[in-house]
């Protein structure tokens, strides 16, 4: 089947009566799962799988991916209104989303987030479609050496995120790298820092760590400080004001199309490389938005560009992650691993066969992502008003409910009671870090990328010896990394000089 033929057939199937209703139900379901803290796309898809046994492939794929594609949109709303990432990937959104809410601009942030998600997803899906003819070559291009250097480049973004206090950021990032080492070492088969616990053998699970660092920590703070999430601002916005803010947010997002385009490219590229994942993508995009902004100093205090950048990258990741999943059956993210098994249930084989004989199935996925995110954007806009009203509730009412939901989310990933303990522990760590002004984002980036950096460094040295860095592609990437680091170090030193002059 040719690509044009596949495109048309995929589109017609996606909007047909046999498929579209499932897409709609899936998208709305995903949105709701996303709003609930801790329940991620991973979870939404796992819940859908049992239904697939009796479904046609097209409908099943639309149902599953529809549910998955809107989760980040719902999660963004939770990040903005409850300072709690609805899913792991939304942790970056709350850096500027929740300050905007405190400034009374929550609905505007929500409008911008929903729209950026939709635009980012469309970009990622379109990129996947354009890459189809060369997809296998693109995926094969990234060997261990290349992934190592790219992961390292991503790691250097810590320097941008924590520019204001580079020492503290480095401490946090190194702590993250250390945490990534917990578990079985694949090369030597040694267990590291597991204390003989079977639960730690596979390393720390990402979701309970993120929930602890951001959600549980927030609950602790609310509990300690009392009052409500909105703080002093007592009267919630009127319905009319909320609506007008949503539209203004949407317009703001469209106005910053160039930023969305750049952050979507970052997201798509990070999705393409297996093992980097979507949580760091949003932080890297956030770092990029901050780096290139004219108003760097307002980041973290409610800059709409921070929300737009991270949310655009969030949903652009999926297009990229689908690429390696479809081309080689190598899942680009944990949810893609579930998609793979769902395709198996539906009797679809990924890999070369899908690209040559079932290209229409790939296009059903592409259109499902785009249409699903559009549904998510419209549906999400209706959720803004009720959610913003909830934030006015007293902390003593809100905290117990949210804590229960968050712990359920931590448990659900692996059905593990141990993970609830992990969430609680990282809640304490996250609270202390927030109070003492250490960057939780830096810790998370170190933690997530630590795996990729270490594993691929091992593989690259085993494959091409200690001088693998001097091969052309890794060398080019390494030079970019060094240049990037040098520029940032220089600007930090210059900035420090300015501050000293001001002081003097």
């Amino acid at each position: 089947m040719g690509i044009m033929e596949g495109l048309i057939s995929g589109f017609l199937q996606a909007i047909s009566l046999a498929v579209f209703p499932y897409l709609l139900i899936g998208a709305v379901f995903g949105l709701i799962i996303g709003v609930i803290p801790g329940l991620s796309g991973h979870f939404a898809m796992a819940m859908v799988i049992p239904f697939l046994y009796s479904m046609e492939p097209g409908a099943g794929i639309a149902f599953l991916l529809g549910a998955h594609s809107t989760v980040a949109q719902g999660g963004g709303l939770t990040a903005i209104f409850f300072s709690t990432p609805g899913t792991g990937q939304n942790a970056a959104t709350l850096l500027d989303g929740s300050p905007m809410r405190n400034n009374g601009l929550g609905a505007m942030a929500a409008g911008a987030a929903l729209t950026s998600c939709f635009l980012g997803a469309t970009f990622g899906a379109a990129a996947l479609a354009l890459l189809l003819p060369v997809l296998q070559k693109v995926v094969l291009f990234f060997g261990p050496a290349e992934i190592f250097v790219l992961a390292f480049l991503a790691l250097t973004f810590v320097a941008v995120l924590g520019k204001e206090d580079i020492t503290r950021s480095l401490i946090a990032a190194l702590l993250g790298l250390l945490l990534a080492m917990i578990g079985l070492d694949n090369v030597t088969n040694q267990e590291r820092f597991t204390f003989g616990l079977l639960e730690l053998r596979d390393g720390l699970e990402l979701v309970p760590v993120i929930l602890g660092l951001f959600a549980v920590a927030e609950m602790f703070e609310l509990w300690v400080s009392g009052g409500s999430l909105t703080g002093s601002q007592t009267s919630p916005l009127s319905v009319k004001e909320t609506q007008s803010q949503i539209f203004r947010g949407m317009i703001e997002a469209f106005k910053r199309w160039w930023l969305i385009l750049r952050c979507s490219s970052i997201g798509t590229a990070m999705g393409l490389i297996p093992g980097l994942g979507s949580a760091p993508a949003a932080f890297i995009a956030y770092g990029h938005a901050k780096q290139t902004s004219k108003h760097k100093e307002t980041f973290g205090k409610g800059n709409i560009e921070g929300v737009i950048g991270s949310e655009a990258a969030n949903d652009a990741v999926e297009g990229g992650a689908l690429a390696s999943t479809v081309a080689f059956g190598v899942p680009g993210s944990s949810s893609m691993a579930i998609l793979l098994s769902a395709l198996f249930v539906l009797g679809q084989e990924t890999g070369p066969k899908m690209l040559t004989q079932h290209v229409d199935v790939v296009f059903i996925m592409i259109f499902t992502i785009i249409i699903g995110n559009f549904i998510g954007m419209v549906g999400g806009a209706f959720l803004v008003n009720p959610l913003s009203r909830l934030t006015g509730l007293r902390g003593s009412l809100l905290v117990p409910v949210l804590i229960a939901i968050v712990f359920t989310g931590a448990f659900a990933v692996q059905r593990s009671w141990f993970d609830i303990g992990i969430a609680l522990l990282f809640g304490v760590i996250g609270y202390l870090m927030k109070e003492l002004d250490y960057s939780r984002a830096a810790l998370l980036i170190g933690f997530v990328l630590g795996f990729a950096v270490e594993k691929n460094l091992y593989l690259a040295t085993q494959l091409s010896g200690p001088y693998f860095l001097f091969d052309p592609i890794p060398l080019t990437l390494a030079i970019i990394t060094i240049a990037f680091l040098a520029y940032n170090t220089w600007s930090i030193i210059r900035h420090r000089g300015e501050v000293n002059e001001d002081a003097g």
Binding site: P352, K353, Q414
Partner: protein, 315 residues
């Protein structure tokens, strides 16, 4: 007196509870523990089988799959082993994945020789694969190479790593294993990219890449070869290597009452013959090799003996 009344009322409640349940096993839902996340072969097979089990067991109860991923299947195996032997918790074991740690004397909270085996769903043979355009055309070519052959695998102690060790030691091929890839699809990608010479892949992972020509099979272990260009264990003069395969076995905690075991075994075998399940196999290109409890038990002890003789290669 008061205590007496309370005891009586509790007794009354209990008897009402007992009366409302249908007589005999099973009278409540049965849980099937799957030691992996939703996804992958183990999960899909169990989920496709569950409706059949419900049909073939007396009384209207549900059969509920429960995913307990972690530690390469050991967490799930422990959970099954430690459950009450009442027939309401059964599970699927990945062999030899959960067997190898036991032979390495890693402390495990299960003992496979005590498990009440119910039956086997089937197995997945190992394919000895090279890249599609590799100059190596047969295992003979490989053994005539004047250097160490390089292989990719996940990590030491993993089933693929152990299988690679056993094949090369048995066939006397000098070799080197590059470890650290994530999952079988990870080193499959490495093989296609040309990171190393060859790899042992399970057939289900390799299938579509063999068809597309991205990789080529030189040998198959754990099943007879139907292709003259692909050698099997017998062709290589090492019939015992036929033991190298991933097997999906169903089991229950030790000391399961015999009548319940028979009921479960029969339901399992019957549901694998169901029209609905057969259609699912057909459309998804999967297959089963059903075996009963006695055969499964024999297979476990045979497999244990096989891996035991290669004990020094396990880690």
């Amino acid at each position: 007196m008061r205590v007496g009344v309370r005891t009586l009322s509790i007794a009354a409640l209990l008897s009402i509870g007992a009366c409302s349940e249908p007589a005999g096993y099973p009278n409540k839902d049965i849980t099937i523990v799957i030691p992996f996340n939703s996804g992958g072969g183990f999960d899909t097979y169990v989920r496709a089988l569950a409706p059949g089990l419900e049909r073939h067991l007396p009384n209207a109860i549900n059969v509920l799959p429960k995913n307990l991923p972690g530690a390469g299947g050991r967490r799930g195996a422990s959970e099954i082993f430690r459950s009450k032997p009442d027939g309401y918790t059964i599970g699927i074991f990945n062999m030899p994945g959960v067997l190898i740690p036991q032979l390495q004397n890693i402390p495990t909270s299960y003992e496979l020789s005590q498990v009440t085996w119910l039956g086997t769903l089937g197995y997945d043979p190992y394919i000895y694969a090279v890249r599609g355009d590799s100059p190596l055309k047969s295992i003979e070519d490989v053994s005539e190479l004047q250097r160490s052959v390089t292989y990719g695998a996940t990590g030491p102690g993993s089933t693929s790593y152990v299988a690679t060790n056993i094949v090369n030691e048995r066939l006397g091929i000098p070799y080197e294993i590059i470890t650290g890839y994530t999952g079988s699809s990870g080193y499959l990608l490495g093989l296609v990219r040309g990171d190393f010479d060859a790899a042992l892949l399970s057939q289900s992972v390799a299938r579509s890449y063999l068809e597309s020509g991205d990789i080529r099979a030189l040998a198959i272990f754990g099943s007879e070869s139907s292709d003259p260009d692909v050698a099997d264990a017998d062709d290589l003069g090492a019939p015992e290597l036929g033991q190298l395969r991933v097997v999906r076995m169903m089991g229950a905690p030790p000391d399961l009452p015999e009548d319940i075991r028979i009921m479960l075994e029969e339901a399992l075998l019957a549901s694998m013959q169901d029209q609905e399940f057969r259609v699912w196999l057909e459309t998804t290109g999967n297959d089963v090799h059903p075996a009963g409890a006695a055969e499964t038990e024999a297979a476990v002890s045979e497999m244990t003996q096989f891996y035991d003789q290669f004990k020094q290669l396990l880690d």
